[in-house]
Structures are given as structure tokens and as C-alpha cells.
């Protein structure tokens, strides 16, 4: 039984989560496709026809494997990737203890887990704050009103 079963059908269509619900129930009718013969409609129809003709056939096509291997990171990125991941995992474990749930599958290596994370956490924020930005490309940008 839904919490909205007692809402009149006519009202459900105009208000509430149904208006933006995932499966298109209720609400205003969505915009139709572009008019027949318009450039957008022609392009959409051409794309569909082409894709359907190629479906199930072999061959590399644009976007069929939009993937990248993990790049060999430069020191700045390598340090950030590992440090960030170790801090995320450590925090995830803390939040799981607070809110319930299962611990994350991954665990950072001993250096990151047993040396980096405790050292980082021991630093006062006034030290951590600039440390976070070492090597950041953000210098020279206009600062927002909410800057720390």
C-alpha cells in the first residue's frame, strides 16, 4: 500500500513526487519529439536507424569502449589519489560505526593506513588547510564568499 493511495487520482497527476517520478506516471505530458522534417528530428531518426542497423554486428564504433587505463600518475596525483582514498576509507569505517552498515572492501596499504592517516588527522586544521592545497591549480582564482 502506497502512502499516496488515499490521494485522489486527479490530484496525484499534478502534484507530488509522481510529477517527476522515475517511471513517468502522472504529471504534465513530456515534450514530444521535434517536428517531422526538422533538423533535430532527422538527426534523431538517422541516429536510431544507423544504430539499429549496426546492433549486434561486430566492429569498433565511436564510443563503443569509452575507457581509459589508469594512467601512470605523476607524484602529485599519485600522492593525492592514495592519500584521499586512505582518508575516505578510514572515514567510511568511522561512519559505518556511527550509522551502521558494512565496512568498505578496500583497505589502504600500511603506510597510508597506519602512518599517513593518523598523521594527517593529528594536524590542526590551520596546518591541514594549506597542506590540502599543496600543488593545487586553484591559486589565482577568484575566491568565493564561503572560503575557509
Amino acid at each position: 500500500m502506497s502512502a499516496h493511495d488515499d490521494i485522489p487520482e486527479a490530484v496525484r497527476g499534478y502534484f507530488g513526487h509522481d510529477k517527476v517520478s522515475l517511471f513517468g506516471e502522472g504529471g504534465m505530458p513530456a515534450a514530444p519529439p521535434a517536428p517531422p522534417g526538422s533538423p533535430a528530428r532527422k538527426q534523431g531518426e538517422a541516429a536510431r536507424a544507423d544504430a539499429l542497423a549496426k546492433a549486434g554486428t561486430p566492429g569498433e564504433r565511436p564510443g563503443s569502449r569509452p575507457t581509459a587505463r589508469a594512467p601512470r600518475a605523476r607524484p602529485g596525483r599519485w600522492f593525492r589519489d592514495h592519500g584521499e582514498q586512505a582518508l575516505y576509507e578510514d572515514t567510511m569505517r568511522r561512519l559505518v560505526r556511527r550509522y551502521g552498515g558494512v565496512p568498505p572492501a578496500r583497505e589502504a596499504g600500511w603506510f597510508w593506513r597506519d602512518v599517513f592517516v593518523p598523521l594527517y588527522r593529528a594536524m590542526p586544521w590551520r596546518v591541514r588547510r594549506p597542506a590540502v592545497n599543496v600543488g593545487s591549480s586553484a591559486r589565482g582564482w577568484r575566491r568565493g564568499g564561503g572560503s575557509a
Binding site: 522515475l22 565511436p62 587505463r69 577568484r142 568565493g144
Partner: protein, 444 residues
């Protein structure tokens, strides 16, 4: 300096198209050329999961314009055109074998999914959702799929979970994190979305690591994990978005700590006259200055507009970001702005947490929905650090508002005494954000 006359854009996504359009608008006399390796431009890739879910009846509706419209606007749009070389000294590039000269270059090369370093990743059925034509092909495949795995609950992963479940496919999430959307959301905020997905029939496996894709005759049959195998005809890989910077790096453009192209507030790279925008770049987060990458389509579009205007000889500035975000997970809306508790605690940003369980309309009005708001603020000053929300409606508007409030340095006190709309069908007397702020002030 005279206005640039030859502007080339590499990439035809949200950033590339808006950059090209804005460059032309800023400098109508310039020759603007946009090269994309793909067949289509000017469609909404964000709509793809909803067509796959059958919520939107066809892919054609996602198209906004055709190539002729760019020609009419004076833009030389070159589709299925691969830029193979760029010479920054000579200011030329080679596109499908033809050499083009440029005075200003805008790199909008987007992202690729980080390929999991797992055996069997080349099997048929290990699938990525990005390009619309490949998504149309995937749509035909889904009719024959009985069981599917989604790898990682990124925003796209969550949308695909609901889409697959709605197609009647037995759907599993495999996620090494501890809760849904753990890169952006907190566990208490994600929980209603998890429950909603489970009610759609999705099985969620958290704290589980994929170990291999296994199959026979080149086709996927199962995803093996550290908790055992899961039978699957299809695996949607929704992993980290790795910025595509091959061309940028080849000409010596600096890449930052996220792997994204470094740009300044004018979206200009470390090379004069070379601009960049979209998923290929990194920009500073407003509160900490920390570089972030892989934002949303609206960020890509606005960055493209700034890059295009400046490349065209104009003067526009892009500000550090506070990243309002929001989406529907299952049948629940979730969103936020800037930091949640997970990110703030990870970075060690001192903060207090203020919560409120509010409602979206007057309590007596039909369709009233719960809205949970969680605010993070600086101890002492009460200056906002971030926000997260989950509820039946009204999440997007609050996320946009809170991102703007963050940008303007708003405090809990500002929100606690804010003005708000009270109208029974659309807003309750007590605005949930304001109630959360009032609750938080007690902790200052």
C-alpha cells in the same frame, strides 16, 4: 591585440558545443570549427538512462538540434572527425588528415571510464553508457538480458540500477564502498534511496569488490567478487570518470592533481591561447580551493561558455564551484551542495552537523512528502560548509539555493532567520533548511 579569427574546438559535448557557439556569438567574424569524433552532437546524454528505463519513449526526443543548425549559425561542425595531432608552436591541428590553423584552441575532450583492472574486461556484455548510438544498440540488447550487474554506485550507476530493474531485469549492484553514492553522499542520506531501489527489486552488495568478469565464447556469464559469483549477461561499468587529456598533454598543457587540465578563471590552460572546459578540466572547490574534476553537464556547459567567450576575444570569468547536485534514485530525490559529512570528515574540516526532518508542503495537503535536510557548518562562526538532502520532492531547488548561499558565505543564523515561501500545496510554514539551521545554532 586583434580579435582571433580562427577558433578551433576539439570535442562536441556540452562544453565543446557551448564553447563553439559562444565563441561565434562573441566574435561573429571568426571562423569557428568544432571537431568531434562522434556521429552526433546536441543531444542529452543525461537522458539515456531514462530511455533505457522506458520512462522516455524514444531516443529521438533527446536530440535538440541537427548539424544544419550549426551551419546556419556559421559554425563549421565536423562530425566523425578525429584530431590526431596538435602543434602549439605552428598553431595547427590535423583533423581526419586535414591541417587546420587556429589562433585560439579550446580543448573539450571529456572523459573516459576508468577500465577496471580485472580479467575478462573485454568480454561482450561488459558495457559502458556514454554515447547515444551505442545506447540505442544497448537498448536492443536489454530485451534479451535476464540478469545484470552494475559496477559502482556513481550517479550514472544508480540511474542504471533503476532503469534495469524497471525493464524486469534481475539487477545487482557491486560496490566496494559501504553505502550508495559513497563518493558524494552520506550513509544516513543515502539510506532512503537504497530502500527505494531494494523495493524495485535491486540487490545491493556493499563492501564487495569485483574480481573478474567470466564467460564463455566471448560473452559475459558472471561477475566474480570477493563474496562469490553473481550470474550476469550484462555488466554496466559506471566507474570513475578519467579526464581525457591525451591531446592536451601532447602539447605540454599542464595537468593537475586530479588528472584534469589545469585552467585559470578564464578557462585558459597553461599555454596562452589554449582554453579547456568540461570533464577534461579541474577547477577549484570554493570552500577549500581543492581542485575537483568530473562535475555535471551544467558545469561543462557554463565552463564552455566562458572558454568560448574568452577565446572569441571577450572577457568572462568562471568562479570556484560549490557543486549543487541532485538526482532521482529509485523513486526518491537525493542531492546536496559542497561537502557532506563523509567528505568533510575525510579532509578533516572542523564542522558541526545540523539536521531536520521536514515536509515539502503543508502537513494536511495531499502529496506532502518528507524532506530530510542535513547542514554542515563551521564551529563558532556557523558559516555553511555543505548540505545534503533526501526526500520526495524539492531537493533540486534547495540544492541550487544552498550552493548559492555557500558561495555568498551564508551562516546557520542567516538560514535560521531566512524568509521562505509558505503556500500549502508547495511549501510548509517551517522550511526544512531553516529548521535544520535552527537546530544547528544550538551547537555553536
Amino acid at each position: 591585440m586583434p580579435d582571433p579569427q580562427r577558433i578551433c574546438v576539439i570535442g562536441g559535448g556540452a562544453a565543446g558545443i557551448s564553447a563553439g557557439s559562444m565563441a561565434k556569438r562573441t566574435n561573429p567574424d571568426a571562423t569557428v570549427t568544432v571537431c568531434t569524433e562522434f556521429e552526433d552532437v546536441a543531444y542529452s546524454p543525461c537522458g539515456i538512462p531514462y530511455v533505457l528505463a522506458r520512462e522516455i519513449p524514444d531516443f529521438e526526443r533527446l536530440f535538440l538540434a541537427g548539424p544544419e543548425q550549426y551551419a546556419e549559425a556559421g559554425i563549421d561542425l565536423r562530425r566523425e572527425t578525429v584530431v590526431s595531432e596538435v602543434d602549439a608552436q605552428a598553431q595547427t591541428l590535423v583533423a581526419n588528415g586535414e591541417t587546420l590553423s587556429w589562433d585560439r584552441l579550446i580543448i573539450c575532450t571529456g572523459f573516459n571510464y576508468l577500465l577496471p583492472d580485472l580479467p575478462g574486461a573485454d568480454l561482450d556484455g561488459v558495457t559502458f553508457v556514454k554515447n547515444i548510438r551505442r545506447a540505442i544498440e544497448l537498448d536492443t540488447t536489454l530485451d534479451g538480458v535476464k540478469r545484470a550487474v552494475v559496477l559502482e554506485s556513481t550517479p550514472l550507476g544508480v540511474e542504471m540500477l533503476a532503469a534495469l530493474a524497471h525493464r524486469g531485469i534481475e539487477t545487482h549492484l557491486v560496490d566496494s564502498g559501504s553505502w550508495l553514492l559513497s563518493q558524494v553522499a552520506d550513509p544516513d542520506i543515502a539510506e532512503p534511496v537504497q530502500k527505494s531501489l531494494e523495493s524495485l527489486g535491486v540487490t545491493l552488495h556493499f563492501g564487495v569488490e569485483a574480481e573478474a568478469f567470466e564467460g564463455a565464447n566471448g560473452a559475459l556469464e558472471r561477475v566474480t567478487t570477493n563474496h562469490g559469483p553473481i550470474d550476469a549477461d550484462l555488466c554496466i561499468v559506471a566507474t570513475h570518470k578519467e579526464p581525457e587529456t591525451t591531446i592536451a598533454r601532447s602539447i605540454g598543457v599542464k595537468v593537475g592533481s586530479t588528472g584534469g587540465i589545469e585552467v585559470n578563471g578564464q578557462m585558459e590552460t597553461s599555454l596562452e591561447g589554449v582554453y579547456a572546459a568540461g570533464d577534461a578540466v579541474e577547477v577549484p572547490q570554493g570552500f577549500t580551493g581543492l581542485a575537483v574534476q568530473g562535475l555535471t553537464g551544467s558545469h561543462a556547459m557554463q565552463q564552455g561558455r566562458v572558454a568560448g567567450a574568452n577565446a572569441g576575444g571577450g572577457s568572462r570569468t568562471y568562479d570556484p564551484v560549490y557543486v549543487p547536485w541532485g538526482m532521482v534514485g529509485g523513486t526518491v530525490q537525493i542531492g546536496g551542495a559542497s561537502f557532506g559529512e563523509h567528505l568533510a570528515e575525510s579532509l578533516g574540516i572542523p564542522h558541526i552537523v545540523a539536521r531536520a526532518n521536514g515536509i515539502s508542503r503543508a502537513r494536511y495537503y495531499p502529496g506532502v512528502q518528507q524532506v530530510i535536510v542535513k547542514l554542515l557548518a563551521e564551529p563558532g562562526t556557523g558559516k555553511l560548509i555543505g548540505a545534503q538532502m533526501v526526500g520526495g520532492e524539492g531537493v533540486k531547488e534547495r540544492a541550487d539555493f544552498l550552493a548559492f548561499a555557500l558561495k555568498r558565505g551564508a551562516t546557520l543564523e542567516d538560514l535560521a532567520f531566512m524568509e521562505n515561501v509558505y503556500s500549502p500545496p508547495i511549501g510548509a510554514l517551517y522550511e526544512p533548511m531553516s529548521v535544520a539551521a535552527q537546530n544547528g545554532m544550538a551547537q555553536l
